[in-house]
Structure formats: structure tokens, C-alpha cells
């Protein structure tokens, strides 16, 4: 099941022309060794939207999101099947360089992880240095990324401080700024607020909404209220003890008020999970 940018339901037609701009997952399967953890997931993520991936723990949401930027394959024994299309091109094709993919599809992790050996400014610019991108004005990049991440006002006078001197919420916003510096078109967020206090969480949710004016955001979250606040579309994952699978995906409002599947209704009403 998928939705187009106008919010209309669309069936996935594997032979349809790929003039779709954005990220698209087609018939995704994932394994850890022989253990089948994701079954036949197909989703579309249009530009400038926020999609929430919700569902109880162990359904493979984090695994799925790592398939979108080719981080899944770092785990020994990990395997996948299916396609992930970035503007029509399969990122898993054999001639594709995974490192280049990750420049377009950025990621923010559950536990904030600024680089300890660098100060705030260097952290923001680290993506540029690490990918050896040629960008001209470093100062303006630092300012714009920190502003977009909602951190500029708080740190503009101490760009030389180490990342460790920031609070958890600030560190996470620093990580967001760091990801933005390489100008991705999609930002993946794996439960970015689960280690943070409610105040920081709300700040980051505001940031997400602003980010979605320019890029697509895909966020895994356990917190249904957060999904309801932040996302335009939601995808609900479930598992019956075997591999995780997609139950339904729809506009957030519809999913939460009038879902098509009873299991979705049960989950969003808190009957399980």
C-alpha cells in the first residue's frame, strides 16, 4: 500500500514508470544469517514529507531503516533482497558506491554520538571533511546547519567547545546539524528522542517539521503521540513471531482515526505494543 504526494491511495505496480521523486522501497526482505527478520515491505517516501515508522519493538523497523542507507550490510551475516530506489535508481545495484548513497540519505541515531575528538564547529563540518567535499564557505555552512537544527542560538558563542559539554538534547541536535552539512535529500532518524527528556524531544520535533520543508524525513518511533504530532504519513509494522511485515501505511490522520486494518486500530488505541 502506498500514498502519492497528494494523499491518494495508490497500489504498488512494480512495472509502473519510475518518475517518482524520492525514496522507494520495493519488496524488501532482510535476514540476519538464516534468521528472516523482514518480509516483503514496499513503501514510498515522497519528497518534503515526514513518514513515521511505528509498531511494537522487534518488528524490524530499525532494520528496515538501515536498509535505506545501506548501513544494514555492516552487520556480519546481514543479507537483503528487493530494491531501494533513489529517484528511480536502485541503490543496491552492483555499480553503485554505498558511500555516495549515504551522502544523499543521512542518518541520526538513537544515542547522540558527536565525535569526541572534535569541537562543535568541527563536528558540524566533519561530514564535509570525511567525504572530502569541496564546499566554499565553512562558516556559513556551520551557521545554517546549526540554525536548521535549532541549535545556533545556544552555541554560537562557543563553537570551540567540545561536543561533550552539551546536554543530551543539544548533542542530538548537533548530530542533526552534522547530517545536514552534506546536504542529503532524505534524513533517517532511528528513535532520535528515546534517550532524551520531554523538553528536548519537543524541540527536536519542531526541528523535524522545519526540516521537512526541504527534505524527506523518515523517523522510527515507539511513541505514538510523537508519530501523530510529527508525521504526514505513517507505516505500521507488525510481527507474528516471525519476520516483520507492513500492515498498512497511510496518511497519519487517517491511520490514527480510521485505519483500514483492525490490528492498526488496536495498536494506535494502545491495546498492545
Amino acid at each position: 500500500m502506498s500514498i502519492d504526494a497528494k494523499g491518494n491511495l495508490m497500489t504498488v505496480d512494480s512495472s509502473s514508470q519510475n518518475s517518482f521523486r524520492g525514496l522507494e522501497a520495493k519488496n524488501i526482505h532482510a535476514w540476519f544469517g538464516k534468521h528472516h527478520v523482514l518480509k516483503d515491505v514496499s513503501l514510498k517516501f515522497p519528497e518534503r514529507t515526514v513518514t513515521g515508522l511505528i509498531g511494537p519493538s522487534g518488528c524490524g523497523k530499525s532494520t528496515f531503516i538501515r536498509l535505506l542507507n545501506r548501513m544494514h550490510e555492516f552487520i556480519p551475516g546481514a543479507a537483503m533482497a528487493g530494491k531501494v530506489l533513489q529517484d528511480g535508481e536502485d541503490i543496491y545495484a552492483s555499480e553503485v558506491d554505498a558511500a555516495v548513497v549515504r551522502l544523499k540519505v543521512g542518518m541520526v541515531f538513537q544515542k547522540p554520538n558527536p565525535f569526541p575528538a572534535m569541537n562543535i564547529r568541527e563536528n558540524v563540518l566533519s561530514g564535509i571533511k570525511l567525504a572530502h567535499l569541496k564546499k566554499a564557505d565553512h562558516d556559513s555552512i556551520v551557521e545554517s546547519c546549526l540554525t536548521r537544527a535549532g541549535l545556533w542560538k545556544e552555541v554560537k558563542d562557543r563553537l570551540n567547545a567540545t561536543g561533550g559539554s552539551l546536554s543530551g538534547g543539544q548533542q542530538q541536535r548537533l548530530c542533526i546539524a552534522r547530517s545536514l552539512a552534506v546536504e542529503p535529500s532524505v534524513l533517517l532518524m532511528d528513535e532520535p528522542c528515546s534517550a532524551l527528556d520531554p523538553g528536548s524531544t519537543l524541540r527536536i520535533e519542531e526541528t523535524i517539521k522545519e526540516l521537512a520543508e526541504k527534505i524527506a524525513v523518515i523517523i522510527v518511533t515507539h511513541n505514538m503521540q510523537q508519530a501523530a504530532r510529527v508525521s504526514d504519513y505513517c507505516a505500521f509494522f507488525l510481527t507474528d513471531g516471525g519476520p516483520g511485515y507492513l500492515v498498512e501505511a497511510d496518511a497519519t490522520k487517517k491511520l490514527f482515526t480510521n485505519p483500514s486494518d483492525t490490528r492498526t486500530a488496536d495498536y494506535v488505541q494502545g491495546k498492545f505494543g
Binding site: 555492516f74 549515504r102 543521512g106 541515531f109 554520538n113 565525535f115 570525511l130
Partner: protein
């Protein structure tokens, strides 16, 4: 700990210890058992007796436990006394011979039997320093590369490399010297400080490589994940993210490597020999070093020579102590 003794028990133990000591002292005087070892033996014998008396009325399990306790303490004392004795004698006897001139004069115009106000070990200290610095310059990069291979690259030879590094730490120091003798010394047709440095490098490498690997293993994986997620390649991740994070750990690795080889004598006997005066050129023929200096004095054996040897031993121990302390201080400084 479940076996904490009550205060009453502690006082009782203390009293019985004192009584045992007095009794042993008397016995030693009477029987003429010689020396510290005689006293120690008597003391533990008397302690066993004291324990037997005190636990007479207790059950066999408690009695056995008490006897074992005394036995273990006795064993521990015996185990620790050699090196405690070494620490003590190095400090006491070494200080006797240590004068400022010891640190900067040489033996060029002094014989080992002269009074200790003449001559010194300056040349030996400088020689050791130069050789160790060269050895570090060789082993640190190789050790780091080894550690990076085992933690970052993780190729197919990982198990073999780790196993070989572990096994190499057992190569006898004289064999390392012998190897350099049959290759480098033979090839350059000369003994030199460089040859000594190479032999020390062989002995240093396993220590540095192993510590480097341990330190790199401590870097949390999410740092690497963050770097890769930003689109960085492996070599940039290793060089710009992982290695800077373990800077102080790698310093520790080299310090521990130096501590390992600074006292090695055997390999130097076959490669750099010894010398009475300052040698600053690593290719300038036989070079003095602290270990060969002390070793030569030991072989001469006169009273003054032995006093010098103790002073040299004290300097050696001080250097090792300083190295260990700095390693401990620096090692805690990695930001994580």
C-alpha cells in the same frame, strides 16, 4: 565481602600475632636458626600452633579454613618478598651510590673500581635513550597498523595476526639479539646502536601491537556508524574519527613498550655491546646502555663496582616507575 572479621576477632588475631612473634623470636635466639628466613619459618610454625589452639573447639570446617588462611598468607609473603626486597635494596643501596655526577659523567677516564665521586653513567643513559627512541619510531607505526588491521579492516588473516603477535611476545631476548646479529650486524659489518635498537624493536612490537588493539577495541561502534552514515569511506573513518579518539591510549601503548625493553640486556650484548663514552651516532659503532653498564659492573664484582651497579639499577627502576606512572596518568585521558 562475606568474611569480614568482627572487631573482637580482629583484636584477638592481632594479639595472637604479637604473641607468636615474641615466641618465635625467643625460639630463634635459643635454637640459633639463622636470618630472616629462620624467623619467618618459626613465626609461621608458631602461628599454625596458635591457630590450632584457638580453633580447638570449633568444627573441622572452620579449623581447616583457619589453617588454610595462615598457609595462604605465608605463601603470599614468600611470593612477595623477593620483589619487595628488590624494591627495598635498589632504593637503599642505589641511593648510596647515586650522586649527581652519576647522571652526566661517563666512564671514559674512570675505572669501575674508583670511588663513586668519579665517573658516571651518562653515556649509558644517553645510549639507552637513543636506542629506545629509534625502536619506538619503528614499532609504534607498525603496532598501530596491526591494531587497525585487527579492529577496522578485519581481513581474512585476523586470527593469524593476533595469534602471531601473542606468540611473538615469547621470543627470548637473546634470540632477538642473535637474529639482528646474523642479519644487520653481519650486513653492516659492525656493532652499533642501530643494531641494538632493531633488536629492541623486535621485543617491543608485540607489546605495542597488543595494547594498540585493546585500545582501539574500546572505541564504541556508534562512532564508526556515525562516520559511515555521513558517507565517509573506511580510511577516512579510521584516520579522522577512530585514531584521534584513542590518541592517549596509543601513547600509553608506546610507553608500555618502552618500559618492556629499557632493561633488556641480552640482546644488546650481541648487537650494541658497550662503551665507556658518549656515542650519539646510532651507526657509530658499539654504544653504551644502562643494562650493559650494570652488567659489566656486576662481572667485575668489586665493592665500588657493585655500588655503581646498584646506582645504575636504581636509575633503571626509576625510569620504569616513571614510565608506568605516566602511562597510568595518560591512559585515562581518552575522551569517549
Amino acid at each position: 565481602m562475606p568474611w569480614q572479621a568482627t572487631t573482637r576477632k580482629k583484636v584477638a588475631t592481632l594479639m595472637s600475632l604479637v604473641i607468636s612473634a615474641v615466641v618465635s623470636f625467643v625460639i630463634v635466639l635459643v635454637t640459633g636458626l639463622a636470618g630472616v628466613d629462620g624467623f619467618a619459618l618459626t613465626f609461621f610454625g608458631v602461628s599454625f600452633l596458635a591457630v590450632a589452639i584457638r580453633t580447638f573447639r570449633l568444627d573441622s570446617k572452620k579449623r581447616k579454613d583457619a589453617f588454610v588462611t595462615v598457609a595462604i598468607i605465608a605463601t603470599a609473603v614468600l611470593a612477595f618478598s623477593p620483589w619487595m626486597s628488590i624494591f627495598g635494596s635498589v632504593i637503599i643501596k642505589g641511593l648510596r651510590g647515586l650522586r649527581p655526577n652519576f647522571l652526566y659523567e661517563t666512564m671514559q677516564t674512570t675505572t669501575p673500581d674508583d670511588e663513586l665521586t668519579l665517573g658516571g653513567a651518562g653515556h649509558a643513559i644517553v645510549g639507552s635513550a637513543i636506542m629506545v627512541m629509534i625502536a619506538t619510531a619503528i614499532t609504534l607505526p607498525l603496532g598501530i597498523l596491526s591494531g587497525v588491521y585487527l579492529t577496522e579492516v578485519r581481513g581474512r588473516l585476523t586470527f593469524l595476526v593476533r595469534f602471531v603477535v601473542q606468540s611473538m611476545s615469547g621470543v627470548p631476548s637473546i634470540v632477538a639479539g642473535l637474529f639482528i646479529y646474523t642479519t644487520f650486524v653481519n650486513f653492516t659489518n659492525a656493532f652499533s646502536g642501530m643494531a641494538g635498537a632493531l633488536a629492541l624493536a623486535i621485543l617491543m612490537l608485540p607489546t605495542v601491537a597488543r595494547t594498540a588493539e585493546e585500545v582501539l577495541k574500546l572505541v564504541p561502534d556508534d562512532l564508526r556508524s556515525a562516520s559511515y552514515a555521513l558517507g565517509a569511506r573506511q580510511w577516512r573513518t579510521s584516520l579522522m574519527v577512530v585514531l584521534p579518539t584513542v590518541r592517549s591510549g596509543l601513547t600509553t601503548a608506546s610507553i608500555l613498550g618502552v618500559a618492556r625493553v629499557i632493561g633488556e640486556t641480552a640482546p644488546l650484548l650481541l648487537t650494541s655491546l658497550s662503551k665507556d663514552s658518549f656515542v650519539f651516532n646510532p651507526f657509530g659503532g658499539p654504544t653504551g646502555s644502562l643494562p650493559t653498564y650494570v652488567f659489566g659492573l656486576l662481572q667485575i664484582g668489586t665493592e665500588n663496582a657493585i655500588n655503581r651497579a646498584w646506582a645504575g639499577a636504581l636509575v633503571l627502576m626509576l625510569i620504569v616507575f616513571i614510565l608506568f606512572s605516566s602511562a597510568r596518568l595518560i591512559g585515562g585521558k581518552d575522551k569517549r
